[in-house]
Subunit: 368 residues, 2 copies
């Protein structure tokens, strides 16, 4: 099978390959995708790319929109509308929410702009040709982002609750803050109603902070339903396609990923990834979770049982490499020691690897 570099038309043409090696190389490391993007999704993406090129950072349209934002008034008819994704939460959540907000942008014909936070620009390549997806550093509101929370007076929920906003109003603020994180209340959640979407359409600037993968909620809204079904005839493929379209590790990160893979995992006969995601970082559930991991990997025949008496008989045993990621280092150490201190019933050899601690502290680079 010739490797389909463009992922069935998902990726746009015209990138400099050297500037983002992962865009075309990641296909070499992944199983061949079982899903093809729909032609409608592909055409939506090409249309979006045109919009982004026309309205993105430092275009005339963008400059005008920023000017109006600064003026604090919401007047006139401008070309382009924007939705700003505020950098928030861990890497996993960021990936999930960025895909959600991008899908919302596709549905509402808005331009997605990405707040780079501390490290977004170092982590990911630009996904759209010709024009950056990053919010320019001189964007006037960046300093306010970290202050936005469930109590913010500028939030859509807060304004609704206090009767400060109605569709019939003549004068609207120049932007709207949408609070969609785990602590959102019933007013914040009205974002997911068609009537409210009609009102939000009036804003040139939407600012979103979220740690929810809210794609499923979009499917439940009558106004988006048809469009979504055309874009994704197979519902379960939303993140599959949007993820592959949007997220390409930067060359620096891709170097870390591929060198780690080649140095520690590639030569094994089999590879297994285990991510341990526990909420409580305390010592409480450690023993319990540890036992659960062993029980699960053995029951599912992912890893062999250990043999209390045995010595490895075979000269050329099968080697399995396990990559274990967790904020709690002990799970890795435990599994590594078990398979180091004991032979296995099958004679297989299990090497256990972890993400490197230094990185763990910075940001988790190894989503499986």
């Amino acid at each position: 099978i010739p490797e389909d570099k463009m992922l069935g038309g998902l990726l746009a043409d015209g990138f400099n390959e050297q500037s983002c090696l992962s865009r075309y190389e990641s296909v070499l490391y992944r199983k061949t995708s079982a899903y093809k993007p729909s032609p409608y999704l592909v055409s939506k993406l090409r249309t979006y790319e045109d919009l982004h090129k026309r309205c993105g950072p430092n275009t005339q349209s963008y400059n005008e929109a920023v000017k109006q934002l600064k003026s604090g008034r919401n007047i006139g008819t401008m070309d382009c509308k924007y939705v700003v994704w505020v950098c928030y939460s861990g890497l996993g959540n960021r990936i999930l929410t960025l895909a959600s907000v991008f899908l919302y942008a596709l549905l509402t014909e808005r331009v997605l702009l990405v707040d780079r936070g501390k490290d977004m620009a170092g982590l990911f390549c630009e996904p759209f040709p010709d024009r950056s997806w990053f919010l320019p550093l001189n964007f006037p509101m960046i300093k306010k982002f970290s202050g936005f929370d469930q109590k913010s007076r500028e939030s859509y929920g807060h304004l609704l609750k206090n009767n400060k906003i109605r569709a019939s109003m003549k004068s609207l603020p120049s932007y709207m803050y949408l609070h969609l994180t785990h602590d959102y209340d019933d007013y914040d959640k009205l974002f997911f109603c068609d009537d409210d979407q009609a009102l939000l359409k009036k804003f040139y600037w939407l600012i979103v902070k979220t740690d929810n993968y809210f794609v499923p909620s979009l499917f439940l809204m009558p106004s988006f339903e048809d469009e979504l079904n055309k874009m994704f005839p197979d519902k379960v493929t939303v993140f599959h396609h949007l993820g592959r379209y949007l997220f390409h590790p930067s060359n620096h990160v891709w170097g870390l990923i591929t060198r780690y893979y080649k140095a520690y995992l590639s030569k094994a006969d089999e590879r297994l990834g285990i991510q341990v995601r526990i909420f409580d970082k305390g010592p409480g559930p450690f023993q319990y979770v540890k036992d659960q991991i062993s029980a699960c990997t053995i029951r599912e025949k992912l890893l062999p049982e250990v043999d209390a008496r045995g010595f490895n008989p075979s000269k050329n045993p099968k080697v399995k490499a396990v990559l274990m990621t967790s904020l709690v280092y002990g799970y890795y150490e435990n599994m590594r020691d078990i398979y180091w201190e004991h032979a296995t019933m099958t004679g297989e050899i299990i090497g256990v690897h972890s993400q490197l601690r230094k990185v763990l502290i910075q940001v988790k680079l190894f989503p499986m």
Copy 2:
């Protein structure tokens, strides 16, 4: 080439292979030895094994000799003479000194008995057929061993210095303590003189504490010279042969060694071992030693230079596995990170591994 399991006659026949897998399996992991033991050495070893079988722990001869030791007197003519190696210092020193004391035992026709200290019995297999080399746990002096030091009144050097011992003496103590550690003085060192050896011959029990590889000193003694030259026509092979003859990791340790090798090192295209041995554990020389390691490995073309700009081009690059051992964990982390964070000029991929920390605390299991 058929694998020479018996190492050219060095190893004795008649062992149960299962009881000590490393004895015959280690040849599978090592480069073929360039040295063959001399027939004279082989016959010396077989003769020693007979002696050990006749005089070793719990034989009638041993029991008599212990009885006399308890009596505190040195009388009569007994069959067997002994040299007791006291467990002292780190694993590396123990291996070197045990080989030295065994050679001394061969030269003086004494039976070597090994004080097991905390962990010797768990680390090594029995090297002699039929009879243990470990000092029985009910040996009367074991509790005194840890108290022996340079100032001990029982030591040979102390007795000489204070004129308490002479060849002409009628009544001698039932044992002699030989203090041969780094802090020995000129009197202690008289051990390496032929006249003193003549006197020491009179003792049925010699107790030795040492952290010196004193084989070279034995070569300088006229009384041993001929015998040594016959045993080792090639001087540099002394440790090579004695090490292979004496030191076989126990099944437990061999399991740890071979599983580690198979899981983390075996699949690489090349392997390199680096041991960092620094005396000072403080932070002082860290930067200096780190730079020295890099400079040396690059100059000797053991490892490639890193390429500040480069990304690894090749799909199937050569993978080198480096095993780095040190009491200071930072050397390993530093090298691992360098080759993770940068591509190399040659495109090779370097995986860096360390001994597992848990073990580091117990005992160093990975002499290279």
